[in-house]
């Protein structure tokens, strides 16, 4: 899957989980930049990402996802 397609699908997940269709993803974006990105919605977002892309993150991978760019890179690696 191309990086642009990953970002497109990920954007749809963010719009749904954080209930905001105006979110534009950037590599540097973190939980602090998105309204309603709290512990519960974080968990839901990760679960929806796994479902959308048909992947399963390792716990060690999850605990290194600090920025949206890390998430995109990890999805890209897992899909290869």
């Amino acid at each position: 899957m191309e990086r642009t397609e990953i970002i497109e699908k990920l954007t749809a997940v963010f719009h749904e989980v954080f209930n905001d269709n105006n979110i534009v993803l950037s590599d540097e974006m973190t939980a602090k930049d998105v309204e309603n990105w709290d512990s519960l919605t974080h968990m839901l977002m990760i679960t929806k990402v796994e479902e959308t892309f048909g992947i399963k993150f390792k716990l060690k991978e999850l605990n290194k996802l600090k920025m949206v760019g890390d998430l995109i890179n990890t999805i890209e690696t897992k899909l290869q």
Partner: protein, 227 residues
Amino acid sequence: MSEEIKIRRATLEDVDFLVDTIVAAEKSGTDNFGLAKLFELSEGEMRTYIKAMLEEEVDGCEFSVSSFLVADHQGKAVSAFAGWVEGQNEDGMSSALLKSNLIGYCLPMENVMKSQSKSDIVRPLQIEREEGTYQLEYSYTLPEYRGKGIMKDIINMHIVDYQQNTPHRHQEGGIRKIQVHVFANNEAAIGTYKRCGFEITKEYNSNNPLVEQYFPYHTILLMERIV
């Protein structure tokens, strides 16, 4: 305190007592185990998943075995209280996200999804923790060991741990702050924290009547102590 009781760092051998501690603290003197309800699980199922989370041995949050100090009597844990420096774990992650990752990783996907409809209800009582502060969470003492000052001794040992493990803040003259969140109806715990030098500094409240389905009470107090 009885000389036979010693405070020590928890190990994986204490995991069953730590599960009891987390469940009792979540219920906060009620029968309401909101964490299980949030994911539409039975208490027994949620206990199994909490044990699995603890066994992952992730450091830096309230589901970390390494965060807990326990009071040990004759080789058995009788009291426990978790504490950690917020955001200063291996990956520099907030405890909230570490906890989320553990829950999301250990629970079945369909149960995680079931919490989605409740996210707006629980949000007002999901409190962001202050980076660099020492956070205390999940305390419990077996009934027959209460009133012996055990919790005060555990808190004091957490404070020593904080002072010894954050020397850079001390050298810079930075303020060290210990924070604990407590349900406003838990007078016994509030009294204990006050005796340990904590003061109420903030109140978090939800007027949504549904919130008490997932929390033992609608108001949480932030109590702080400067060390």
